[in-house]
Symmetry: C2
Amino acid sequence: MSRRVVGVLGGMGPEATILLQQRVLAMVRATDDADHLPLLIDMNPQVPSRIAHLIDGSGPDPAPVLAEMAQRLEAAGATALAMPCNTAHHYAPQIKVAVSIPFLNMVDLAVARAADCLAPGAAIGLLASPAVRLAGVFDAALSRAGLNAIWPSDMDRMLAAIRSIKARGPTPKAQDILAAAAAEMAQGGASLLCVACSEFSLLAPGLPAPVPIIDTIDALADAIHLHSQMKQS
Amino acid sequence: MSRRVVGVLGGMGPEATILLQQRVLAMVRATDDADHLPLLIDMNPQVPSRIAHLIDGSGPDPAPVLAEMAQRLEAAGATALAMPCNTAHHYAPQIKVAVSIPFLNMVDLAVARAADCLAPGAAIGLLASPAVRLAGVFDAALSRAGLNAIWPSDMDRMLAAIRSIKARGPTPKAQDILAAAAAEMAQGGASLLCVACSEFSLLAPGLPAPVPIIDTIDALADAIHLHSQMKQS
């Protein structure tokens, strides 16, 4: 395969995978199909639940399934990998060791983008699932960047909002939960908010923003764009 | 791979491929990710232009690229294939012979659906590209079903609308062109209209409908749904 094609570990959930495609599409100035970026998407909604494994402590480990998806995408010609699910980035190390192509790490990319516009020691507010917090998905990247994390006080409500979006799409109630968490974290000292749950990315464009907001999925879309523009090695 | 996964020959254009995913998603009653259908999507906007090959007589034949995509999807575990691009169905025979898994033919599926609700000899109005007409993409299926085709009188305008949607998304001007063609064909004797261009599918939900309208992409989404529900053989 001569083209550079980014492989997508998708389906976690399907809406987030569609959203990533839309963000990638929107970022290209196209006059015809051929201007758009190639993707190879494994839309696999049957990856074992990350929340069940990390929070409930029930159900199988998703890591072997994710590693196998990554290998299959590499074998099918992907020249880099992307995964539009923040929680699943807990399993990034197991994915990386399974393949020989770059893994465009959405968490690292978003934190680097935040660090670019914040002073060392600043706090970033994370709109994320309890699983992301409990598993420490952002800890290492934030520590490397010298940034601190602020979390919503009621993580159960965040989980309820995520489950509601997965079942019923982006509802006004979910939007209210997200807006309240954003306001609370800004008041609590966050210099910047980071949308770190792809379900929340569906609602982020309409979110009232007391401080700047970045979205992990946009950081990933940018990296896909950059990768596709690079010369074939 | 134990799951039944439909492989998608996509990127013609990317919006149509996203639209198919949205239609497949909307058709599932889901309470969590795992309820959704698995897809393996080759989003390849670099497939040689079907319009250039069929109408302009310039540029390379897309068939070998499509056959190779189909083989790669089969090798990666797809148990059936789908292609959300009506024009590209001109190359369906070359795709089918390249693989040993079923090809869910969007054209055949849509014509069968139309035939279910029309008397023999009835006319169906096709909202499609000139390439679909010139290449006779619907001819065999319509003939088998005993149905006649009616086409918009100004096919150049249809092509202009498609090119405009590919470049700028679904604009009011494209919507007007589509609505005028729909009204004209209904007046000219079409008992039913068939949206047979995935760019037009983006606009179809808002189309004023003088007669019933079916959409090829919905027929394909239904077939994907059915295939995914079948027991693994």
